[in-house]
């Protein structure tokens, strides 16, 4: 038997193959590249939230030292460059399409947010380009900005886009309002809650960067970019912006330093460096500094919602009614319209057997940076709303918060379970993950810890969140019917080399997820090839046939499944070759981890025997089978996958200052089959840290003029090591029923389940202070004000 597979296959905590280069400084990130003849770009950005561009005078800048080109919106318009396309179209309640205003790569006639690109300056050095950008004389006529959604929606607000009435992108709904209203009318008890989901800045540690290289001989373009999905960028940029055949454009996303959603989208700078390179006939490099990242990377979340549960006398949920306003920012980013609709409202059943749901969502343009998917994308917003409303309901119904959840869970034998909001969950076991969470967190022992903390003068609280999410996106026909302008399959090629080593080409992209390891484990498990002999190639449109990239926890569920399908083809072909070599019939050939066997005999051939035969076809059924051993599969998922679980947070509040300290965090997640437990734990821990950041620290704030006041890491509070509690991670597996691996996805569960657990813990800690709800982030001054207010109440 092959001794490799048990140690390296599915379920092994294999140490990562990619770490050797990262740990020695040998990673290859976009900013590490230095192309021959390269020049540098600096983007002049609007200092105003909303203004007309009366003139942009670049004459002085053009004459500055080192400058090789200065371009404005007028130039890109004249060159016929298209705007940045949106990848999803949502329809209004009345069936009409959403408003989809143009999104030029350089602002033309008007700027709509602080950071909107106004001019592209290319010079020998970055400093020279920046010097020249400062010499551009822009005559702005400032307009009244609409910074908040309330401002944008108020009658008489200045339209941000011509022809977009009331700054409303769309007014969408799901569910039957009349049925839900009737359920509310018949309810024993209604519990409502107004809540916001705070706007966040993703802040992957690597700032975005792009190098455009135009080859004047072939007319080909190469774009090196910090992207989570190079093929999608190629498609959007070549077809919509540069208007070139895709065959003329190669997009490479090498090592990418984190994404969390922010590097999914096609950004103006990617098109600008390519087009700029063709203008100046030299490679053009642009690297964002962090200040630019704050004002040009798509932001996340930013919802304002009203939510209500209708309950019967036993505390069973009868109905849910939700009204949400979602901030789109100034332009529609690539996936923005689908986040507050099909990634949010369709999740509003959560893990509960809510019979009827009605949700309406208004998407609003404001004079702020575009908002799009950020780790979890819509599901954190849905989970936060449900789990806060659950806790408030428990208290107002006088039912224990754990018990109320248990009473309303979808039963383990109810799967497949059709929710009232379109999704059909394939599997889950919410009672078990809850029970495991309670035990791991020692929920029953909490009051002792609370009393001990009280003796130290601290308020200790515990909070729970039980959740389900939908990822592994997504069935193409389904998303197509919902407005997606692309399919969401994935592509995998398995290339077995003559000597038996394997190259995998995948359309998924790894920017921290460890695909070079986990994807190799799939090959080790299925084909019996040691992971050391498996290379994963990703992130290059010239090498990988096609791909839809990595986001929505889809890499293993969709990309891994494509690989499995391609390996099935390899095995099928291998069996035919083996049958020939062993003079048996194909039906009699069995395959197990690298060995082809004639069933019931000791006649075997190793995979390498087959690959040698395939590439050196001397003794080969050449009339029936082509030489070579390489197969490609496109896998289109049959459904979303539905990870779920239970998160429990424990916090302590310093009553003197209001500071909230995380003291413990427990996550028990059902992510389906676990390929590499070490990596799954790491994904959950990282997601939880981002969730804790959202709950306690992070807030993207604008002032009333639309200036980004939390525009640097000096003001935007990023969680540090001491802000995060040790995170205990466990898994309880129910298999996904519809993909070949049984995997569900682990990339986002941490960020989805954790924020409400933390806020529920904070509210629990403040149980004696009369607080019903507080908005994220639970900063020290906010908590202190509650404590002070509560003390006043107590004194009165």
């Amino acid at each position: 038997m092959n001794v490799v597979a048990p140690f390296e296959g599915i379920g092994a905590s294999l140490r990562r193959k990619e770490d050797s280069r990262f740990l020695q400084g040998h990673g290859n990130y976009v900013d590490d590249m230095d192309r021959p003849g390269q020049v540098c770009a600096w983007i002049l950005r609007s200092p105003h939230a909303h203004a007309l561009l009366r003139s942009v005078d670049v004459a002085v800048a053009r004459a500055m030292p080192g400058v090789v080109g200065v371009f404005t919106g007028a130039d890109t318009q004249a060159a016929g460059l298209g705007g940045i396309p949106c990848g999803w179209q949502i329809h209004n309640k009345d069936g009409s399409p959403m408003a989809e205003p143009p999104h030029p790569v350089l602002a033309h006639e008007r700027v709509r947010h602080v950071g909107d690109p106004v001019a592209l300056v290319i010079a020998e050095t970055r400093a020279q380009a920046r010097d020249a950008a400062e010499a551009i004389n822009v005559d702005y006529e400032t307009l009244e900005p609409s910074v908040t959604m309330a401002q944008a929606l108020r009658p008489g607000a200045t339209p941000i886009h011509e022809g977009v009435a009331g700054n409303l992108c769309y007014d969408w709904h799901i569910g039957d309002k009349a049925i839900v209203d009737a359920a509310f009318a018949a309810a024993q008890k209604v519990v409502g809650l107004d809540l916001t989901n705070n706007r966040l800045v993703p802040n992957a540690m690597e700032p975005r960067a792009a190098v455009g290289e135009f080859d004047r001989y072939s007319g080909d373009y190469t774009l090196y970019t910090t992207s989570q999905n190079p093929h999608v960028i190629r498609l959007l940029m070549s077809a919509h912006v540069l208007k070139l055949p895709e065959s003329k454009v190669r997009v490479v996303a090498p090592d990418v330093g984190g994404g969390f959603g922010s590097k999914i989208y096609h950004y103006a700078e990617e098109a600008l460096v390519c087009w700029g390179s063709a203008q100046v006939k030299r490679p053009v490099k642009w690297v964002a500094d962090r200040t630019e990242a704050f004002m040009s990377d798509a932001h996340g979340r930013d919802h304002v919602s009203r939510a209500e549960f209708a309950f019967d006398a036993q505390g069973k949920i009868l109905a849910l009614r939700v009204a949400t306003q979602a901030n789109m920012g100034a332009y529609l980013s690539t996936f923005a319209p689908c986040v507050p609709t099909y990634l949010y409202a369709t999740l509003l059943a959560g893990c509960y057997a809510t019979p009827v749901i009605y949700a309406e969502v208004k998407a609003v343009f404001t004079n702020t940076v575009p908002v799009d998917a950020y780790r979890g994308a819509g599901r954190p917003e849905a989970t936060y709303l449900l789990e806060r409303l659950m806790d408030v309901s428990a208290r107002e119904l006088g039912i224990d918060r754990v018990e109320l959840r248990r009473r309303n869970f979808i039963a383990v034998d109810a799967f497949p379970y059709q929710t009232p909001v379109a999704l059909q969950y394939d599997s889950g076991d919410y009672q078990t993950t809850l029970a495991a969470g309670l035990e791991t967190a020692d929920w029953d022992g909490f009051e002792t810890r609370r009393a001990e903390a009280a003796r130290r003068g601290k308020l200790r609280g515990i909070g729970i969140s039980t959740y389900v999410e939908a990822c592994g996106i997504a069935p193409s026909a389904v998303v197509g019917s919902l407005g997606a302008r692309a399919g969401l399959y994935e592509v995998g090629t398995i290339r077995v080399h003559p000597t038996g080593s394997v190259t995998v080409l995948t359309g998924a992209h790894s920017h921290g997820q460890g695909h070079e390891t986990t994807f190799a484990q799939l090959v080790a498990d299925k084909l019996g090839v040691p992971t050391a002999q498996v290379d994963i190639v990703h992130g290059d449109t010239a090498k990988v046939p096609f791909g839809m990239g990595t986001y929505g926890s889809r890499s293993m569920a969709v990309g891994g499944s494509a690989m499995m399908k391609a390996m099935d083809k390899i095995i099928a072909k291998g069996k035919r070759i083996a049958a020939h070599l062993m003079e048996a019939s194909v039906e009699d050939i069995e395959f197990d981890r690298g060995t082809f066997r004639v069933a019931g005999t000791d006649k075997t051939k190793a995979l390498v025997d087959i690959s040698v035969a395939a590439y050196v076809p001397h003794n080969y059924p050449i009339d029936e089978i082509e030489p070579g051993l390489e197969e490609t599969a496109f896998y289109d998922p049959k459904n979303f996958t539905y990870p779920g679980g239970c998160h429990i947070a424990e916090v302590e509040i310093d009553t003197d200052t209001g500071h909230v300290a995380m003291v413990n965090f427990t996550a028990v997640d059902d992510v389906g089959r676990v390929i590499n437990p070490m990596i799954v734990e790491g994904q959950v821990q990282g997601g939880v840290a981002q969730g804790i950041g959202q709950a306690l620290m992070e807030a993207c704030l604008y002032d009333d003029q639309g200036q980004l006041v939390s525009g640097s890491m000096m003001d935007y509070a990023m969680p540090r090591a001491e802000d995060i509690a040790p995170v205990s991670v466990a898994t309880h597996v129910t298999l996904c029923t519809h993909n070949p691996l049984g995997v569900k996805g682990c990339g986002e569960v941490g960020a989805i389940g954790s924020p409400p657990a933390v806020i529920n813990a904070v509210v629990d800690a403040l149980r004696d202070y009369g607080v019903r709800h507080l908005d994220m982030p639970a900063t020290a001054p906010k908590i202190f004000a509650i404590i002070q207010g509560g003390q006043k109440l107590a004194a009165e």
């Binding site: 740990l23 400084g25 540690m205 962090r290 821990q685 840290a689 090591a721 040790p726």
Partner: protein, 178 residues
């Protein structure tokens, strides 16, 4: 600086320093940062730039044995110093430094971008605390470094394990729990 002051107005400053044991002399601008010298002139791109406010620590290197943010040091100010970057940690035979090995063993990195700075900071932290550090003290000691991927949990575990090797308390790195 080696050159006389009278030449400052007309000549590019020149800086001589030792990087990973090798002496380099380079012409720079006054405004050139050490991290730019390392990345752009010496092409040691393992040292990263993650922010512009000295908050993130992706650029941490050692200057004369102590951790420093290379984005907040002028190249000219590094004259005569000995700088160690992430590229200079592993032994000549390729053996990883115990901290590098611990990061790998404990899955203390994901995207790898913060990793060089994190490793350099961690080594300085451990070297300055031969008495040994608790997990809480390690968390406090990482205040100058941000990581967006790992949630820090495994970084803390890796440093806790590496310190025992670095201080000679154990001969082999403790394996991570499976």
């Amino acid at each position: 600086m080696r050159r006389g002051q009278k030449n400052w107005e007309t000549l590019m400053p020149q800086v001589t320093l030792t990087v990973n044991g090798k002496s380099h002399t380079a012409e720079v601008e006054g405004r050139t940062l050490l991290v730019e010298l390392l990345r752009e002139t010496l092409r040691l791109t393992g040292t990263h730039v993650g922010c512009d406010t000295s908050q993130c620590g992706a650029c941490v290197v050692h200057i004369d044995g102590e951790s420093a943010k290379a984005c907040t040091v002028l190249a000219v100010a590094a004259e005569g110093t000995s700088v160690t970057t992430i590229e200079g940690l592993a032994a000549a035979d390729g053996t990883l430094h115990p901290m590098q090995e611990a990061f790998r063993e404990y899955h203390a990195l994901q995207c790898g971008f913060c990793t060089p700075g994190m490793v350099m900071s961690a080594i300085d932290l451990v070297q300055k605390n031969p008495q040994g550090l608790s997990e809480h003290e390690i968390r406090e000691g990482l205040e100058g470094n941000l990581c967006r991927c790992t949630g820090y949990h495994n970084i803390v575990k890796a440093i806790a394990a590496a310190q025992d090797v670095m201080h000679g308390r154990v001969s082999e790195l403790a394996r991570a729990a499976e």
